[in-house]
């Protein structure tokens, strides 16, 4: 079970930046990679903690959106942390 508190941790357990980059490919089918936030919010430049908090809220279905709940559902800790690490390295 993923604990919300790890959103605050400095250490991103199991994070792999290459894996994060690869997983990011799934995001940019919808989230415009050039940062245009039309209809779907922009995620480039998002803070690590903000990203993790949001993904967890979709995972626990506290936050509504069928697509994002489905995306978050199959992201485990390693995936979330890898994505967070990769996102933090994007401008």
């Amino acid at each position: 079970m993923i604990n919300k508190s790890y959103a605050d941790q400095k250490q991103l357990v199991g994070a792999d930046v290459d894996y994060g980059e690869h997983l990011f490919g799934e995001c940019v089918t919808c989230h415009n990679s050039t940062g245009l936030g039309q209809g779907i919010p922009k995620i480039t430049g998002m803070k690590t903690s903000q990203f993790i908090t949001k993904i967890l809220a979709y995972k626990t279905k506290e936050k509504e959106n069928a697509v994002m709940q489905m995306v978050a559902e199959r992201l485990g800790e390693e995936e979330i942390n890898s994505l967070a690490l990769y996102l933090s390295k994007l401008k």
């Binding site: 415009n32 209809g39 069928a66 697509v67």
Partner: protein, 421 residues
């Protein structure tokens, strides 16, 4: 430093290691990937292989057209929600930002043994790995009386471009109170909800300018994608305008006549004032030529999208048998990323991750009334298996439907930027 300079530099450095680990490739030469088809599958694959290999792989994209008009959102153009120009895209980004060698020609044939693609001009290009994402060809003969000649009287408009412009013109020019006949294709076909979104957008046109017009759908199927949602929407927005007639009810389309615009079925002969006929489909011809098909479509290895018939060829998108994924642009884009990761791994030894597939298809029923269906998939030995999914519900509130429509606009901008920039 310009992008090309950086690319050349990194490329040379990488080539040395490649040559050591890949003895079959001549010293100093980069491994070569050729992609046939610059659509949802092929453009994405070419971009990701070039981008992620950072110059270590030479990527050539063979695409017949210089401009790609998406089928996705072509229905929104029919309904006046999009301008035609906004669904057209060029290959500038792939060539300039990612160093993809764009060859605007037809690939005529594949020599699997020599690993060469022969082009319309007579030139040929060698590959180490070949990606085929040619989309569909139409089986005109599947509807008795339909043909390449008849397509201008009853546009299929199933490959976007001029056919969609023609269809829109015919819809707008249809006589007042006339009948529009839509013939959807039998399964499996590109974009399962597409014909029904098309009907919705044509109904939206008629509601504005020809409110007594009728739409008759002569379906070769007994049910269709998002049926409950479409039926509910039609009732709500276009009451009395649309009649869906299942195969069971009309007993099959026996014959159509493009000159008289007649559709003969067991039930009745329907006379149309305008029509769209979408015949059955099969993988684009080049896939057959490469010998990677089994009948109309191409069996693949679910974990990599490699053709079962040739491990050096990958088949993406509509042409592949990627069940349980539907034939959609989203699916093709998702499959392309799995294949790109696998190809890079096999050519340069980069990490290959567990494949993850996903799809979501949005459809527009009326102004601000969007619906969606989506699923996650994983590769098993037999197929690309659905692991979870969702679908919009009937009776949803209008704010949610509006948000769903807006989300689809974001998706369009996302996927086209992912493919082309």
């Amino acid at each position: 430093m310009t992008k090309m300079k950086r690319r050349t530099f990194v490329g040379l450095a990488a080539a040395t290691t490649t040559a050591l680990s890949m003895p079959s490739i001549a010293f100093g030469a980069l491994p070569r990937v050729v992609v046939i088809g610059g659509g949802a599958g092929g453009a994405t694959a070419a971009k990701y292989i070039a981008k992620d290999s950072k110059g270590a792989i030479d990527v050539t994209l063979v695409e017949a057209s210089k401009r790609y008009y998406t089928c996705f959102f072509s229905n929104l153009y029919l309904g006046d929600f999009r301008a035609y120009g906004s669904i057209g895209h060029n290959y500038y980004g792939l060539a300039v930002n990612h160093g993809v060698n764009m060859v605007h020609e037809w690939a005529l044939s594949v020599n699997n043994a020599a690993k060469k693609v022969n082009l319309g001009s007579g030139e040929s290009i060698s590959y180490d790995k070949l990606v085929i994402s040619p989309g569909i060809d139409l089986k005109f003969e599947s509807v008795n009386g339909y043909s390449a000649e008849a397509q201008s009287k009853m546009p299929h408009a199933w490959k976007s471009g001029t056919q969609v412009q023609l269809l829109k013109n015919q819809v707008k020019g249809m006589k007042k109170g006339g009948t529009f006949v839509m013939v959807p294709p039998p399964n499996p076909y590109r974009c399962p909800p597409g014909p029904y979104e098309r009907v919705s957008m044509i109904a939206h046109q008629f509601k504005k300018s020809n409110p007594t017009a009728k739409i008759v759908i002569l379906d070769p199927k007994n049910k269709f994608s998002k049926q409950g949602l479409f039926m509910e929407g039609w009732q709500k927005h276009y009451p009395g305008m649309i009649e869906w007639i299942s195969a069971e009810t009309h007993g099959g389309i026996k014959k159509i006549n493009a000159a008289t615009m007649e559709f003969e079925t067991d039930l009745d002969t329907f006379k149309a004032d305008a029509a769209s006929v979408v015949p059955a489909q099969k993988a684009g011809r080049i896939a057959m030529n490469a010998g990677v098909n089994n009948g109309d479509w191409c069996p693949i290895v679910p974990a990599s999208m490699q053709a079962q018939a040739d491990e050096n060829i990958y088949v993406l998108g509509d042409a592949s048998i990627a069940k349980s994924m539907p034939k959609s642009g989203f699916s093709a884009n998702s499959q392309a990323k799995v294949a790109a990761n696998h190809i890079r791994g096999s050519l340069t030894g980069s990490k290959v991750f567990t494949p993850r597939f996903a799809n979501t298809c949005w459809s527009l029923v009326a102004t601000n009334d969007g619906i969606k269906v989506g699923a996650n998939y994983k590769a098993t030995n037999e197929k690309i298996d659905k692991t979870s999914g969702f679908i919009s519900k009937t009776g949803e509130d209008s704010n949610l439907r509006k948000a769903t429509y807006e989300e689809s606009i974001g998706w369009y901008s996302g996927i086209t930027s992912d493919m082309f920039s």
